[in-house]
C-alpha cells in the first residue's frame, strides 16, 4: 500500500502552488491599503488596529506594485484552490482517510500524552508506530485543512461585494466586511506559519525520502 494516495499527492502539490501564488499576490494587494480594521467600515489609518508593513517586490506577485495584476492572479488561483480543497474533503470523507488517519482521539488530548508528543518532537524523534500520524501532526493538518484553508475561502468570499447579496450572513458571521478582511489577513499568515514549520520538519525528518514519497507515493510502513 502506498504511503500517500495519488489524490493526496495531486492535491498536495496543486494546493502548495495555489497557496504560494495566493499568498504572494495577496501581499501585493495588501500593499494597496496597509491598514486593517474591525467592523463594517474602515478607511482612516487612525482607526486601524494594525498598520501592515509594505511588502518588498521579491515577496509579491507581480514582483512590483500592481494591484490589478495581483488581483488577476488572486481571482484566477482562487478557483483551483477552493475547488481542490472541496474535492479533497469529499475524497477524505468517502475514503475514510480523515476518520482513520487524521481524526484525533480522546486519549490523545490528555495533557500527559500531548506533552509526551511535544518532547518526542523536541528530540526530533518522528516515529509514531501504530498510527499514520502522531497527535501534533493530526492537529496541524486538521487545523490547516479544516480551519485555516476553509477560512481563507469563506473570508475571501465575504469581502466580494458581488457575492454579498446572495449570502449576506457570510459577512455578518465574521462581524462585518473589514473584520472579514482582517481575518483573511491573519489566517493567511497562520497558513504561512504552518508552511514554514512544515518545511522545517520535512528538512529535519529526511527531506529526500519525504519529497520522494510525496511524488511517487512511497510505501506504507507495516
Amino acid at each position: 500500500m502506498k504511503r500517500h494516495s495519488l489524490l493526496t499527492r495531486l492535491w498536495h502539490w496543486l494546493n502548495a502552488l495555489c497557496v504560494i501564488v495566493l499568498f504572494m499576490s495577496g501581499l501585493n494587494i495588501s500593499n494597496a491599503h496597509r491598514y486593517l480594521y474591525w467592523g463594517n467600515y474602515g478607511f482612516d489609518p487612525a482607526d486601524a488596529w494594525l498598520v501592515v508593513p509594505r511588502f518588498p517586490g521579491w515577496m509579491t506577485i507581480p514582483g512590483y506594485y500592481d494591484l490589478a495584476g495581483a488581483r488577476g492572479w488572486h481571482m484566477l488561483i482562487a478557483w483551483p484552490f477552493a475547488l481542490g480543497l472541496l474535492a479533497m474533503w469529499i475524497a477524505m470523507l468517502l475514503s475514510r482517510h480523515f476518520w482513520r488517519d487524521l481524526r484525533t482521539t480522546c486519549a490523545e488530548w490528555k495533557p500527559a500524552a500531548i506533552w509526551r508528543d511535544i518532547v518526542q518532537h523536541m528530540k526530533l524523534d518522528f516515529s509514531h508506530p501504530g498510527a499514520k500520524y502522531n497527535f501534533l501532526q493530526k492537529l496541524a493538518y486538521g487545523l490547516v485543512l479544516g480551519v485555516f484553508l476553509p477560512l481563507m475561502i469563506f473570508t475571501g468570499m465575504a469581502i466580494s461585494p458581488g457575492l454579498e447579496p446572495a449570502a449576506p450572513w457570510l459577512v455578518e458571521i465574521f462581524g462585518g466586511r473589514q473584520s472579514a478582511r482582517s481575518i483573511h489577513f491573519i489566517v493567511a499568515w497562520g497558513t504561512c506559519a504552518f508552511f514554514l514549520v512544515h518545511i522545517a520538519l520535512v528538512l529535519l525528518s529526511g527531506p529526500v525520502g519525504q519529497l520522494r514519497d510525496m511524488i511517487t507515493g512511497g510505501r506504507r510502513e507495516a
Partner: protein, 246 residues
C-alpha cells in the same frame, strides 16, 4: 543572510515566471476568463434583483472618504460648484428612442430612492454612506433603451492621470433597483470630493465602478472602439477587472 537571499531569489524567479504567464496570450486569456467565472457564479448564486445590504443611520461612517479624482479642474466646474450647478446637464443618449437631457432640478423632481450602503474600494477600505437619487432604470425607461443596447456607459467631467474618466456596466446592473444616480450623500448635496453634483451608485461592485461628476449616460451595443475599449478608465489604463464584484 544567505538563506534569505536564496528564498528571495526563489520567490523572485517564481514571480518572474508568473509575469511571463500573465504576459502570454493564453495566460492573459485565462486571467480574464477567471473574471468571467466569478461574474457568472455571482449572477447564478444571487437573484438579479438581490440587494446589497442596507444599513441604518447608526452604522454610517463618521465621514465618507474621497478617492481618485477629488475635483474637476475646469473654470466651468468651479463656477457651477459655487452657484449650485444651475447649468449642469446630464444627457441620456446612445441607443435610445428619445435622447434626454436632465438638469439637476429635473433629477431632484423624479421619484427618489434613499439607501444606506457600504462602499468598498478596490484598495481594501470601506465607508458607509446614505445616498439619494432616482433609479437609473427610471432614466433609461424614460429615454427608451433600444433592444440592441448591451451596456450602459457613464461619461464624466473629471480627468485622472491625463485621461477622461468613464465607466460601464451591463444591463443586469443597470436595471438593478439599487443602481441610482445619486445627488445627495447623508442628506446633503453631494460633496465635491465625492462627485458633485451627480455620481453613480452600483452597489454590488467595487468603488471604481461608481463614476463621479457624471455628465452623460449612454446606451451602447459594444465597448469596442470606445476610449481604450475595455469599458472604463481603470480598465484601459491599468488593466483593472471590468467586473468588479470581487
Amino acid at each position: 543572510m544567505k538563506r534569505r537571499n536564496l528564498i528571495a531569489g526563489m520567490a523572485g524567479l517564481f514571480a518572474a515566471g508568473c509575469s511571463k504567464v500573465a504576459d502570454s496570450k493564453a495566460g492573459s486569456a485565462l486571467l480574464s476568463a477567471a473574471e468571467d467565472w466569478h461574474r457568472k457564479a455571482h449572477r447564478a448564486l444571487a437573484n438579479r434583483q438581490a440587494l446589497a445590504p442596507e444599513f441604518t443611520r447608526a452604522d454610517l461612517s463618521p465621514t465618507f472618504r474621497g478617492n481618485g479624482s477629488l475635483t474637476v479642474d475646469t473654470p466651468f466646474y468651479r463656477e457651477q460648484l459655487a452657484s449650485g450647478f444651475p447649468d449642469w446637464r446630464l444627457e441620456v443618449t446612445g441607443l435610445v428612442a428619445t435622447p434626454l437631457t436632465f438638469s439637476l432640478e429635473n433629477i431632484r423632481r423624479l421619484p427618489q430612492r434613499t439607501q444606506i450602503t457600504r462602499h468598498d474600494c478596490v484598495e481594501g477600505w470601506s465607508a458607509i454612506g446614505e445616498w439619494t437619487g432616482p433609479q437609473l432604470s427610471l432614466l433609461l425607461d424614460a429615454a427608451g433603451v433600444l433592444p440592441e443596447a448591451n451596456f450602459i456607459l457613464f461619461r464624466c467631467a473629471d480627468t485622472l492621470h491625463g485621461h477622461r474618466y468613464y465607466e460601464s456596466i451591463d444591463m443586469v446592473d443597470a436595471y438593478h433597483p439599487q443602481t441610482i444616480v445619486a445627488h445627495m450623500l447623508n442628506g446633503e448635496p453631494l460633496p465635491e470630493k465625492n462627485g458633485a453634483p451627480l455620481r453613480m451608485r452600483v452597489e454590488r461592485q467595487l468603488g471604481y465602478k461608481h463614476p463621479k461628476y457624471l455628465t452623460a449616460i449612454e446606451a451602447v451595443a459594444t465597448l469596442d472602439g470606445i476610449e481604450g475599449g475595455k469599458g472604463g478608465f481603470w480598465e484601459d489604463q491599468y488593466g483593472y477587472q471590468w467586473y468588479a464584484g470581487m
